[in-house]
């Protein structure tokens, strides 16, 4: 411990430089944290996909509808535990397209929430939903966004599905579900299909897609093929794939842009580290003579190495951990753009990765000058001008 004050006074010698270096490392790790958050937000659907869930949609395109009766036929296919259908409702709240969120009529409320165990809906609210025809169940983040609470009546307009009566759709919020963990997307708005189908002006009996549960996740691909075979050569052919592959397809559609943004951000991160590293290395080189003096006083090679490394690691950890902490704090408040990125948090694995990078930075920037200092011959060092 007695060497701590030595390291400390070295850091304090050029307070301004130390401060600026810590700040640049701080910025680099804030960026790193935000980068990981955004990456996670984009791929959330893939990582969270249930292994036993399959998505079955119209083969031509997701926007084409399928007959509602497919649910029963699917449920009869061996290996299929249940099949629930959803439809893209495109509800618009307060006539403001910016108030965008996903809204879907669901064929079977109980079966749907069984399919998604990560949606936690209190039993009494589920029962209320079964009793209320116009009832809707919303996710926690959506409810928070519009300050909805149970009992509220919410009017939505749908440009795709006008009501036969030509007025806005009215829903009663009967339940609010929470996510089982932070990664769960709780931005959805679910309501009953029977209410929807009866009141819609056109397309009765037509639905968007099916969520199919396989009773054995290992046979998911096989069951997907069986579902597609069931409807092959019909006017409504299906394309069925595991939920993960389905979500992956959406991520792929973002295309090169995603990859390029990630590449640019990584380049930024490493550029800042390079600059900070250079300054830190410079700070040690300037003191060659002093290090020689320490060795002349009897400091061992190992001790000099350790002192220099301690210094660089201290700078790296001060800046790095503060940066990670700030990035984490910035994401705790939730997504700044809930309509684009509903899932927004910094996963623990990236915090750990950041911590490893912090130490790597400290060691890498310190090691070269430290080795130089260790190998230094006292006579050479003392002769050198500072």
């Amino acid at each position: 411990m007695k060497y701590v004050s030595l390291v400390w006074s070295n850091l304090r010698r050029k307070r301004l430089r130390t401060g600026l270096t810590v700040l640049s490392i701080f910025i680099a790790f804030v960026l790193f944290g935000l980068l990981c958050t955004i990456k996670e937000a984009f791929t959330a659907g893939v990582t969270l996909a249930g292994a036993d869930r399959l998505i079955s949609r119209h083969k031509v395109s997701l926007i084409m509808t399928l007959p509602e009766s497919y649910a029963r036929r699917m449920a009869r296919i061996p290996g299929v535990a249940s099949a629930v259908h959803l439809t893209w409702f495109n509800g618009i709240y307060q006539d403001e397209p910016k108030n965008f969120f996903g809204s879907f009529p669901v064929s079977d409320p109980t079966a749907y929430f069984d399919l998604y165990p990560e949606f936690l809906l209190p039993t009494e609210q589920e029962e209320a939903w079964l009793k209320t025809r116009t009832g809707a169940v919303v996710g926690r983040s959506l409810a928070d966004r519009f300050h909805w609470k149970i009992g509220d009546r919410v009017p939505l307009k749908s440009p795709i599905w006008p009501r036969a009566a030509e007025e806005a759709w009215e829903f009663d919020i009967v339940g609010i579900f929470d996510g089982a963990n932070r990664a769960t997307d709780t931005s959805g708005f679910y309501f009953r299909y029977d209410y929807f189908d009866e009141a819609r002006a056109n397309g009765k009996g037509q639905v968007g897609w099916f969520v199919v549960r396989a009773d054995d996740p290992d046979r998911a691909d096989e069951i997907a093929r069986a579902v597609d075979a069931e409807f092959a050569n019909s006017p409504y052919e299906t394309k069925t794939e595991p939920e993960g592959a389905f979500a992956q397809g959406f991520v792929q559609q973002i295309g090169d842009i995603g990859a390029i943004l990630m590449a640019i951000l990584s380049a930024v991160f490493f550029t800042i580290l390079l600059i900070a590293g250079n300054t830190m290395a410079q700070a040690v080189r300037e003191r060659t003579m002093e290090l020689g003096l320490l060795k002349a006083l009897g400091f061992t090679n190992g001790l000099v190495l350790a002192l220099v490394l301690a210094e660089s690691c201290l700078i790296a950890t001060a800046g790095g951990f503060a940066g990670l902490a700030v990035a984490w704090l910035a994401t705790v408040g939730g997504s700044p753009i809930p309509s684009v990125l509903p899932v927004f948090f910094l996963p623990a694995k990236y915090v750990a990765m950041g911590a490893v990078l912090v130490f790597a930075l400290g060691v890498v920037t310190g090691i070269l000058p430290a080795l130089e200092a260790m190998r230094l011959r006292i006579a050479t060092a003392l002769r050198r001008q500072g």
Binding site: T21, I38, I63, P159, G255, I260, L265, I275, A276
Partner: protein, 395 residues
Amino acid sequence: MHWLSQVVSVTLFSLRTIPERKGAVTAAAVGIAGVVAVLVGVLSIAEGFRAAMSAPANDDVALVLRSGADSEMTSGLSRDETRLIADAPGVARGAEGALASAELFVMINLPMRSTGTDANVPLRGVEKTAVAVRGDILVLEGRMFATGRNEVIVGAGAARSFAGLDVGRKFRVGPNEWEVVGIFSGGSGAEESEIWTDAAVLQPAYNRGDSFQAVYARLRSADAFREFKDALTSNPRLRVRPLLQAEYLAEQSSALTSFIQGLGLGIAGLMALGALFGALNTMYSAVAARTREIATLRALGFGAGPVILSVIIESLVVALIGGAAGAAAAYVAFDGFQASTINWQTFSQVAFAFAVTPRLLVTAIAWAAAIGLLGGLFPAIRAARLPLAVALREV
């Protein structure tokens, strides 16, 4: 000595000492180059996307959606409604009647050339008048599709981005097979990402009966829009939403553009802070290393002003060199880069090219200059305040 010549000689003197400090100076320049490259790179995505989603040549093209629809995808119009719209005042007329095209807009899955995975590609059914309505559609290769047949022409952007869209190739969608007979350019970039066919063929293929999703109309002039719009919105037989195509495209691209811009500015801003700290470090060390030199100059009669200016100029020069290098690198790497992405507002793919515009380059250089200025200012003040007697004694 003349004040200006003092500035010049001190500045030249300090610039000549840069090679002695090349490590630190390079680090500062690289940092600033990085800021500029990131700023230009990210914003060029937004610029390119916005450029693709605009139709500068077509300021007199209007489109009409069903009232309440926020995109063609969610719109629907009957044959009768499309006729009423075509007959509205303000619509230009050609040899074959009103320059209005009732169109159908659907989505098909086609594999992307880059990854081989499915993408949502827009397939548009148009009437014969569609080309005259847009005014600038050019068939680059092959020919126009024949009416009544399963033939398509493919926008240049779509042909680049999705597999199997070469002239002469056929692709199957559901029960229908379509033959690619031509590649077209023109219209907006969004339209260049589309596949076009005869609306009359597309309707039965997609069980659409005799319905459409939008009417595109060429107006007599851009000023005729008011008249056109008033006539449609006051017609009791129609519940529609007329808007200019330029307006519509801007609406469709706003979310993605502002998302990328926000992200780009945020990241570049953070990075600029990082680079500023780097520049400050460099210039403080430069001043510290030259303490005796500066003190000597002051003792010889050089004023505080020239010393301050010389430090700032040095910092500016380093920043501008770094900034120019970063801008050049970003230009080489990103300008014209072909990409496609999904536009969530229409749920469909848009092919576009990254655009490094002159305005972007100027913005980037301005950022570099600002970093250089700030990075030099504080160290310069320190240099000027050095107490002579102490500084001269410094080793």
